[in-house]
């Protein structure tokens, strides 16, 4: 498992180069926008929010893959989580960083973004804490801080392991990263306690983050935004897209780093079931949202409703329904297609579908606000599409870099879960019987 950390392959450099090029192009596009103004994007009166905010919501949603799922599985002590947690937590950290970039890219004067920080300044004015954007600032920073720590703490024992195995500069670097970890019982117990507390604290924070992101929309009196369902609807959608991203990342890592003996069909099967559940839940929320609007028949809302159902946004809407509901249910409810390929195909569909869902929340409502005179249609420009493509490339870049520098599977967790055998026992690593046993909550002391 530490092989990728020790050796560098040609493929790694190829990915770095390809993704790096796209990211550089995106940075260029952003520089162009900074120089000329937001006018180079497709935003207009009345669609003042569009692709950037779509991507903001999308990436913050993807970030719910990791810490949230990993915290739940840690608290219920699901043994099969062990190879999955770090893969998932890394997605959270990077997706959050990318997602949090978008409100800044989107600003008219991004060089003044620091005015959102609550700090005493000679302007003598504080941020307006009544604004959902100020809530976003606090929620995202809390979640990012918590997620980074949640990811970093269990990495310390693995840094110590690399320190012992490596030579040369790697020994020095990882030695200092290990913070003098020796593995005393006290250190293990404190680490476990800290992780338990963090898991408990981060769960409500994760739920609050996407609820507050939904508040950005539901607080405004805009047709089909001003809805009480938005909080849970966004959180469910976030977990949905997060699991899909996790499955895709796991499949990619499994192929690229040859982790076939750690990331087993069992993991895809379990996560596939979770994805199926979230797909049904998502369908339930969309049905609720649509039915109440249609039945209420309020004319401002009906303009948006029909634009998405039959009008210019209908192709996106029905693609979303197929990607988020029809495809996952067809593939994942059948045990024969609930294999790795089936899960990955369904997940790709869900990622596309959830992006479209965010787009359909942000854009049509603004195009069809209350006064028909001010209706207008938004079309994205190449600058926006380039920046969007760059964030996907940035995700691949950061992820590949991370998997290169840090063991992507928590080695000590695997040992503790009996996935990897210490010299004491002859049972082969990844033995299916051992894993099935590990899935049971076997150690009563663990939850203390």
């Amino acid at each position: 498992m530490i092989r990728p950390v020790m050796n560098t392959t040609v493929w790694f450099w190829a990915i770095m180069l390809a993704a790096g090029t796209v990211v550089a192009c995106g940075a260029g596009a952003w520089a162009y926008q900074l120089w000329y103004g937001i006018g180079v994007s497709g935003k207009r009166w009345p669609s003042f929010w569009a692709l950037y905010l779509t991507n903001f919501v999308f990436w913050i949603g993807i970030s719910h893959a990791g810490t949230l799922i990993s915290a739940i599985l840690r608290l219920v002590n699901a043994g099969w989580r062990r190879p999955v947690t770090r893969v998932a937590e890394v997605i959270t950290v990077f997706a959050l960083m990318i997602g949090a970039m978008f409100p800044i890219i989107h600003l008219g004067r991004p060089w003044l973004a620091f005015w959102l920080f609550p700090y005493p300044s000679d302007r003598e004015i504080w941020p307006n804490f009544r604004s959902p954007l100020a809530w976003d600032f606090f929620a995202i920073n809390t979640y990012l801080t918590g997620s980074v720590l949640f990811l970093l703490l269990p990495m310390i024992p693995d840094f110590a392991l690399i320190r012992d195995k490596a030579t040369g500069w790697r020994k020095k670097v990882y030695g200092s990263l290990a913070l003098g970890w020796r593995g005393t019982t006290k250190q293990w117990n404190r680490l476990e306690s800290a992780m338990q507390i963090m898991a408990i604290a981060i769960l409500p924070v994760a739920v609050s983050v996407h609820t507050i992101v939904s508040f950005d929309f539901s607080m405004a009196n805009v047709p089909m935004w001003h809805s009480t369902i938005f909080g849970p609807y966004f959180v469910a959608g976030a977990i949905f897209s997060g699991i899909a991203a996790l499955i895709i990342a796991m499949a990619a890592l499994r192929k690229a780093l040859h982790l076939e003996q750690y990331l087993l069909p069992l993991h895809f099967e379990n996560l596939g079931k979770l994805l199926l559940l979230m797909s049904i839940l998502w369908g339930y929320f969309v049905f609720n949202e649509r039915l109440t609007v249609w039945y209420g028949n309020e004319h401002h809302e009906m303009a948006v409703f029909w634009a998405t159902q039959r009008g210019e946004y209908a192709p996106f809407y029905w693609t979303m329904v197929i990607c988020n509901f029809v495809l996952p249910i067809a593939l994942l409810s059948n045990p024969y297609t609930r294999n790795i390929i089936g899960c990955v195909v369904a997940s790709l569909g869900v990622v596309v579908g959830m992006w479209l869902e965010r787009f359909l929340i942000v854009v049509p409502s603004l195009s069809y606000k209350a006064l028909p005179y001010s209706w207008g249609t938004y079309t994205p420009t190449p600058v926006e599409l380039m920046i969007m493509a760059a964030t996907f490339a940035a995700m691949i870049l950061l992820y590949a870099l991370f998997a290169k520098l840090v063991p992507i599977i928590a080695i000590w967790e695997m040992k503790a879960g009996d996935f990897v055998q210490a010299p004491r026992s002859g049972v082969g690593a990844g033995d299916p019987h051992r894993i099935a046993a590990a899935a049971e909550p076997s150690s009563p002391g663990a939850a203390s």
């Binding site: 009544r130 100020a134 195995k165 020796r182 593995g183 006290k186 117990n189 800290a194 503790a416 002391g445």
Partner: protein, 163 residues
């Protein structure tokens, strides 16, 4: 002479070594056990398990809550600006920020506690890189008489080393 220790591949043997050391009159606090994974199902894995960490986190959360409540109110009153007919200090919206800061305080306090107790507070020097191969180290630092402890650590399947 820093200490004497045994290396064991089997956690059961390590437990036996810990018991032997105790029988030889070594105080529990003087026994060092190092491993590359946590052992929750064995007795030695529960040494030092008691911690005030949850209480520290709760207290820090409470402090964060109160502090944020007052800071928000103070900053809003310092230059009162009316928006959308809302009160100057609206509790509804402030609750959201108070919640986030409460959680952030608890998380940061937990990590600080971890660093102080587990890393800064770790004064031991005994170590062997073979731990990373899966061996469990049981030993005593600066023993009064190392030769007296050697029989306690010498168990079949283990190796005794001096550092």
């Amino acid at each position: 002479m820093k200490g004497i220790y045994g290396l064991y591949a089997d956690p059961g043997l390590a437990q036996q070594a810990v018991n032997n050391l105790r029988a030889a009159g070594v105080a529990d606090a003087d026994i060092t056990v190092l491993s590359s994974e946590p052992f929750e199902h064995l007795e030695f894995g529960h040494r030092d398990a008691k911690t005030a960490m949850p209480w520290i986190a709760t207290a820090a959360g409470a402090i964060g809550l109160v502090l944020t409540y007052y800071l928000l109110g103070a900053s809003q009153r310092s230059w009162p600006l009316i928006t959308s007919g809302m009160p100057i200090v609206p509790l509804w919206t402030n609750l959201i920020i108070i919640f986030e800061m409460t959680m952030l305080s608890a998380i940061i306090a937990t990590v600080i506690t971890l660093i102080v107790t587990a890393f800064i507070g770790d004064r031991g020097k005994l170590y062997d890189p073979e731990i990373s191969d899966g061996y469990i180290l049981v030993g005593v630092e600066n023993p009064v008489d190392a030769s007296k402890l050697e029989p306690a650590l010498a168990i079949d399947g283990g190796r005794v080393k001096r550092a």
